[in-house]
């Protein structure tokens, strides 16, 4: 019986422990930390304390013990930071504050140590009083000593810098700022002192002065100073007036001035930019980048007399890339860098460089490296293929085709396949004569008939901008009767002229989808056997955006085909057709499938009843990858409405289901 209370106590204690474990997430890592600490396994203890603090960041005791563990292993800065955090959590604990202050002192943060000791000593703590005095007295005496030394004529960088450093540590910030500035003026290349000045100015809440000094240090200074300045500067990009202030402080800072000049250029303040570039070029004649930019500015406003000497200087300079950029602007031939004889893996390096240039969009550079790679390894088909693409991207298909032609002979099926496709696509574009054949058989539910449209056209591509051609068109239907409905004249609204039209014509090259053409010929009605003169001509615009039918992946698209055509046979009428469709292209394996909405408008100059209508409705177009490239199927369901009175000759609205096959090729 006597044992019962003991058992109860043990049970309660176990419950407490269990409860503590359940409630306190840091319990387990802290237990491990203290075990490791007792066994002097400090690294393990640090890890466990850190885990505990992650779980319970406000636990002051854990932070303190972590700090003491850090002290055991000499990680004084980490210990200082932990005490600092603990002090932040418990500002009333002077013991913590004192630990923090002592460690600040040990880790060269004297100013912070002095401030903390100062705060604590005011509570009457004699240790803090002594510690404060131990820091403050040497600072005070040092300041007096260096002031005196300067008075005695020691106007040196080190005298001013040491005085400023001591003054900053003693929070005599005005004195510090004054002497940092004086020190910097003695050695202006040491822009790290401007970082000191900026830091002190920030503490003095002189934000503009701080930005001025830091901005000057962040450009053109030693990289270390620039990095330190960047940490202190606001995250935003500096304003023009800040640049100007920084230049007033540090007028010899050419990098700063050059950056300001470029900023002004981007802001379309060319005249101001020009002035800044002029100053840079005067102060730093070796700054070829600024010389080139200033030269371009002169050139842009037609001042060749001032531009050419500057650009000449750049072209004679050591920066070959910059010189070539200038040559490109002046339309002068580029100079390739001389190649070293002992560079063994030329082709590999050149290929790599070409690849990089390609990816970065520097196609001319890529071409340069590919030429080097080709010279080094003339049977590298991958290089030939890339040469083809490089010329193609530079819109020089005449040079691209021979490279694709060479590459399609590669034993690598991937290279030869890609080259063959490119070769076929481009060859026709570069031939002197090109024959194009297209057919578009279409079934219309409205007319319950199958229509046949087609053309064979042979085009001559001379060097001048007009291309003559001869053409045979077929416009007919399978029932062979619509063309004669209600009269001798085949009305075009029946979609069939029942004629073969022979013609000769001229067309312009296509420019951004726009083309002009004119044709003269004869239309031979295969039902009437009449031959009538046929003159037609106009402009045509065809353009698509987004994922078109040939796209590699799915997405939205929009296409438009717009024609303005004069046709003599239709009472010398001028008709405008606009056929538009927008929708989504889905790529499902080898199937390309478009679902879209049609919106078509047709009108004419003479407002004829058959020639003015609108159509809209859903449609789809699709093809499989195994089909010839230019073959596709279309299905449309259209609702049409005439926009001029039909005088009872036909209903003013109609619906039409149309289905067709498009196929075209060139040789």
């Amino acid at each position: 019986m006597k044992r019962k209370p003991v058992r109860v106590i043990l049970l309660l204690a176990s419950c407490c422990v269990a409860l503590a474990q359940a409630v306190d997430p840091a319990y387990e890592p802290l237990t491990k930390a203290y075990e490791a600490l007792r066994a002097k396994r400090y690294d393990e203890a640090v890890g466990a304390f850190r885990r505990a603090i992650e779980l319970d960041p406000n636990r002051v005791a854990a932070r303190k013990d972590l700090a003491y563990t850090y002290l055991k292993i000499g990680e004084t800065e980490s210990a200082r930071d932990e005490f600092g955090e603990a002090m932040r959590l418990d500002p009333a604990d002077n013991h913590l504050a004192m630990e923090y202050a002592f460690l600040c002192y040990e880790t060269k943060e004297q100013a912070q140590a002095r401030r903390i000791f100062d705060r604590v000593r005011k509570t009457g703590d004699p240790v803090a009083q002594q510690a404060f005095e131990n820091i403050d007295r040497p600072l005070r005496e040092g300041i007096e000593r260096w002031k005196k030394a300067i008075e005695l004529g020691s106007d040196t960088f080190s005298a001013h810098y040491e005085l400023a450093t001591l003054a900053e540590q003693r929070d005599e910030l005005n004195l510090a700022a004054e002497h940092f500035l004086r020190a910097w003026r003695l050695i202006p290349d040491r822009r790290s002192v401007l970082v000191d000045l900026g830091r002190v100015s920030q503490r003095l809440k002189r934000d503009e002065e701080a930005v001025t000094a830091l901005l000057a240090a962040s450009r053109g200074g030693e990289p270390r100073a620039a990095d330190a300045a960047r940490k202190l500067l606001p995250a935003r990009y500096p304003y023009v007036y800040e640049f100007r202030r920084a230049l007033e402080l540090d007028p010899a800072n050419t990098e700063l001035r050059r950056e300001l000049a470029y900023l002004l250029l981007r802001m379309d303040r060319s005249a101001e930019a020009e002035r800044e570039f002029q100053i840079v070029c005067e102060k730093a004649p070796d700054d070829l980048l600024s010389a080139a930019q200033l030269g371009f500015l002169y050139l842009a406003r037609g001042d060749k007399e001032r531009a050419i000497p500057l650009l000449d200087r750049v072209m004679k300079g050591p920066d070959e890339d910059l010189a070539n950029r200038v040559r490109a602007v002046l339309r002068l031939p580029q100079k390739l860098k001389p190649r070293s004889d002992n560079a063994a893996p030329v082709s590999v390096d050149a290929k790599l460089m070409a690849e990089r240039s390609f990816k970065a969009g520097y196609i001319r550079d890529a071409l340069k490296y590919l030429q080097i790679a080709h010279e080094a390894d003339p049977i590298d088909f991958s290089v030939m293929l890339k040469m083809g693409w490089a010329y193609n991207l530079l819109h020089d298909d005449a040079h691209a085709v021979p490279w694709f032609d060479l590459a399609r002979r590669s034993p690598d099926p991937q290279i030869s396949g890609e080259a063959l496709r490119a070769y076929r696509n481009l060859r026709s574009a570069t031939q002197r004569f090109q024959t194009t054949i297209w057919v578009f058989p279409t079934y219309s539910s409205r007319w319950r008939d199958l229509f046949a449209y087609g053309q064979i056209k042979t085009e001559w591509k001379p060097k001048f901008p007009l291309r003559p051609y001869v053409s045979i068109r077929l416009i007919g239907d399978s029932r062979r009767e619509l063309g004669q409905a209600q009269g001798v004249q085949a009305p075009p609204q029946y979609l069939s002229e029942s004629a073969v039209i022979f013609g000769v014509g001229l067309r312009t090259p296509t420019w951004k989808g726009l083309m002009g053409w004119a044709e003269a010929g004869s239309a031979a009605g295969y039902l009437t056997h009449h031959v009538l003169p046929d003159y037609r001509g106009g402009i045509s615009f065809a353009r698509g955006w987004g994922r078109l039918l040939g796209a590699e992946d799915s997405g939205w698209f929009f296409e438009t085909n717009d024609d303005g055509v004069f046709i003599s046979r239709f009472d010398k009428d001028f008709l405008v057709y606009s056929q538009n469709r927008g929708g989504y292209t889905a790529v499902i394996g080898g199937l390309r499938f478009q679902l879209y909405w049609n919106a078509n408008v047709t009108f004419d100059q003479k407002r004829q009843a058959w020639a003015n209508y609108t159509e809209s409705g859903p449609g789809s177009r699709f093809r499989w990858s195994w089909l010839p490239e230019s073959m596709s199927f279309t299905v449309n369901y259209l609702r049409g409405s005439y926009s001029v009175p039909q005088d009872g000759s036909r209903p003013s609205t109609y619906t039409d289901f149309r289905s067709g096959v498009w196929y075209a090729f060139s040789r």
Binding site: Y68, T76, A159, D227
Partner: protein
């Protein structure tokens, strides 16, 4: 059971032999890579023999590489190449400006490239650990992963011609991937200032110093000049902890700074600057040791200091004048105390303070020569003070630390340093002449040590083994990159070159060594002239002796070798063969640590070790257990017990035997 233990010992030994420390850079232009690897003892070899391969930009991505890495090869990829792509490091479309790094090995340390580069961003494989990245753009710049029994490390750009311009912790990253340096040394000295280590666990630190290859600590002794119970106890504990770990302890003196109290108590003896202010320059409070009363008081205090503690030696350091700016800065120029001025006036007829009032080169020269002579005389005088102590404490080693004036010839006029005179003062066998790098050349490359050693050897004043070099590991005042203070590869190169050129390397300071560097220092200090395999044996030739990573027992020159500590076999200087021991016993006694110059060591029987050595000062030995008895040159008693299994052996050339149960 014993067989199993034997097997465990043999396996790692075989593993070492399988992986000779060879690297190969697969490019006509090796760049800075050989300098990186050589800094910790790896040796260049043809690709067929190498284990570490560097593939520079554009290297082809042969699928064989994967198999080689899985079988233990270490591939280092630089920038963009098909090989890098093969291992998953792929270039992306965008570029980023890279020039300011953060590294996991020392987060918070500013690593700044002298020239920032516009580089492509890369995607790194998921299994890779990113070791370093650009601070501003967060672009990964060094990453790697283990693959099979090998590893892959990728860096975004060349490490630079010197090898440390961009990735100071590249060797640490390799270490994280399992690549351990091949050799170790335990010959380093380090300077120690207790004010940075007030609350550390001294036993923990003593073990750490031993692991870092530090054989002697030079302790800032001016803090202990004045008797203070608490401070004295600290020093006693420090010395005891060091001796237990086989680390020797020297008293480092920075005269004319005597002590804080001495300065406060004797304002009348304070040194004066050229503007006649008290010479409190930087941390030092300089005293006028020309004044005879001051000298006598300070000398008595120093002798008391030397007798109060169990020092192993004394280091008289930087005993000349201020400052590096010389006459250009009178506010830092010393000496201008009344005694010196009077002495000079008597011999030269004018007050030297006038040289600051009126520019007269001839007069300036007169005073600068007088001043150099004065410094020489002070050195002679103070070495004499310590010699007096050595008459009672014969084990004491003497060191004279003196700034170099051979590479930077301006030192003589700037601070009165005259190394030729100082070498004569020290004499050929009195102690070690420790050459200090002047701050003015801290920004120069490590090759300077070779030249420095040559210039001092030409003078031959101290004999070949009496020279040492001091490397200052501090934040340099020059605009240096990538780190303000030497760390990582730059530090290892400095130590490696210095250790090749000088018999002894001292580091200033123990506290300024960054934590990540500690474990690789010992490898950087190791110098091996040749390593090759001959059947089951390794042939290793070193100038000053070397440690070879070795688990278990080893045979050296065909005999069972007793100087092994479980992770290292410590070899004497010269060429020796090492092979796995045929009979292995975990219970056999061993000498785990020995700080003297080993000549031979052997087991006289299963329980007795004999070591022949020479040492300029005491030699410390740490044994695997407490011996029953020990003898030096056949006589008991001249070794000092420093712990359960630690002993301090007499300086000079001796044979010591330890007999165990």
């Amino acid at each position: 059971m014993r067989f199993l233990v034997s097997l465990l010992f043999l396996i790692p030994a075989g593993a070492w032999a399988a992986a000779l420390p060879y690297f190969s850079v697969l490019s006509d232009d090796a760049g800075g890579w050989p300098r990186i690897f050589s800094a910790v003892g790896f040796q260049p070899q043809a690709a067929g023999k190498a284990r570490i391969f560097v593939l520079r930009p554009g290297a082809l991505g042969s699928p064989d590489w994967t198999a080689r890495v899985e079988n233990g090869a270490v591939v280092i990829l630089e920038g963009e190449s098909p090989a890098a792509e093969l291992f998953g490091f792929r270039r992306e479309k965008e570029n980023a400006r890279v020039g300011s790094l953060e590294d996991v090995h020392r987060p918070g340390l500013a690593i700044i490239w002298e020239k920032a580069l516009e580089l492509p961003r890369y995607s790194v494989p998921k299994q890779a650990r990113v070791f370093a990245w650009d601070k501003w753009s967060k672009v990964p710049v060094m990453a790697g992963y283990r693959l099979g029994s090998g590893a892959v490390l990728w860096v975004i750009a060349s490490p630079g011609e010197r090898g440390y311009e961009r990735f100071p912790y590249l060797l640490h990253a390799l270490g994280d991937l399992g690549v351990e340096p091949p050799f170790r040394s335990d010959r380093l000295w380090a300077f120690f200032d207790h004010s940075y280590r007030l609350r550390v666990d001294l036993d923990y630190f003593a073990a750490r110093w031993r692991r870092a290859g530090i054989t002697a600590l030079h302790v800032a002794a001016w803090h202990f000049y004045d008797r203070d119970r608490e401070r004295d106890q600290y020093l006693e504990r420090l010395i005891a902890a060091c001796h237990r770990q086989g680390v020797l302890v020297y008293a480092w003196l920075e005269l004319p700074h005597v002590s804080e109290k001495f300065w406060n108590d004797h304002p009348e003896w304070r040194e004066k600057t050229g503007v006649l202010q008290d010479a409190h320059l930087d941390w030092r409070k300089l005293m006028n040791l020309t004044n005879r009363d001051c000298f006598r008081a300070a000398a008595a205090g120093i002798q008391d200091l030397m007798r109060r503690f169990d020092w192993d030696g004394a280091n008289v350091a930087e005993l000349y004048f201020e400052s590096l700016e010389g006459l250009a800065n009178p506010a830092r120029f010393t000496p201008m105390n009344d005694d010196v001025r009077a002495q000079f006036r008597r011999s030269n007829g004018f007050d030297p303070i006038e040289i600051f009032q009126k520019h007269d080169e001839a007069r300036q020269r007169q005073f600068l020569e007088f001043r150099a002579g004065l410094a020489r005389e002070m050195q002679r005088e103070w070495l004499g003070v310590l010699e007096d102590v050595r008459h009672e404490r014969r084990w004491l080693d003497l060191v004279l630390t003196h700034v170099d004036d051979r590479l930077d010839t301006g030192m003589r006029d700037a601070i009165g340093a005259d190394s030729e005179g100082a070498l004569k003062v020290l004499g050929p066998s009195r102690g070690t002449f420790l050459v200090e790098d002047p701050a003015t050349v801290w920004n120069q490359g490590p090759e300077r040590y070779t030249e420095l050693a040559r210039r001092y050897r030409e003078r031959g004043a101290t004999g070949n083994d009496g020279l040492a070099i001091d490397i200052n590991i501090v934040e340099r005042y020059q605009d240096v990159y990538p780190t303000k203070q030497q760390t990582g590869t730059e530090l290892f190169q400095l130590v490696h070159f210095a250790a090749k050129a000088f018999p002894r390397v001292a580091l200033y300071a123990e506290h300024s060594l960054l934590a990540p560097d500690v474990d690789l220092l010992s490898s950087a200090a190791a110098g091996v002239r040749r390593v090759e395999r001959m059947g089951p044996k390794l042939v290793i030739d070193s100038e000053h002796g070397v440690g070879v990573p070795w688990s278990g027992d080893a045979m050296v020159d065909g005999k069972l070798w007793p100087v092994v500590d479980g992770r290292t076999a410590w070899l004497p200087s010269g060429a020796h063969t090492v092979e796995a021991a045929t009979s292995v016993s975990a219970e056999r006694p061993r000498a785990l640590r020995f700080t003297g110059d080993l000549q031979t060591a052997e087991y006289l029987n299963n329980s007795t070790i004999e070591i022949a050595y020479s040492s300029k000062g005491r030699a410390a030995v740490v044994l695997s257990g407490r011996p029953l008895k020990f003898e030096v040159d056949g006589a008991p008693g001249s070794a000092v017990e420093a712990g359960e299994a630690s002993f301090l052996l007499p300086r000079g050339q001796h044979i010591v035997t330890f007999q165990f149960q």
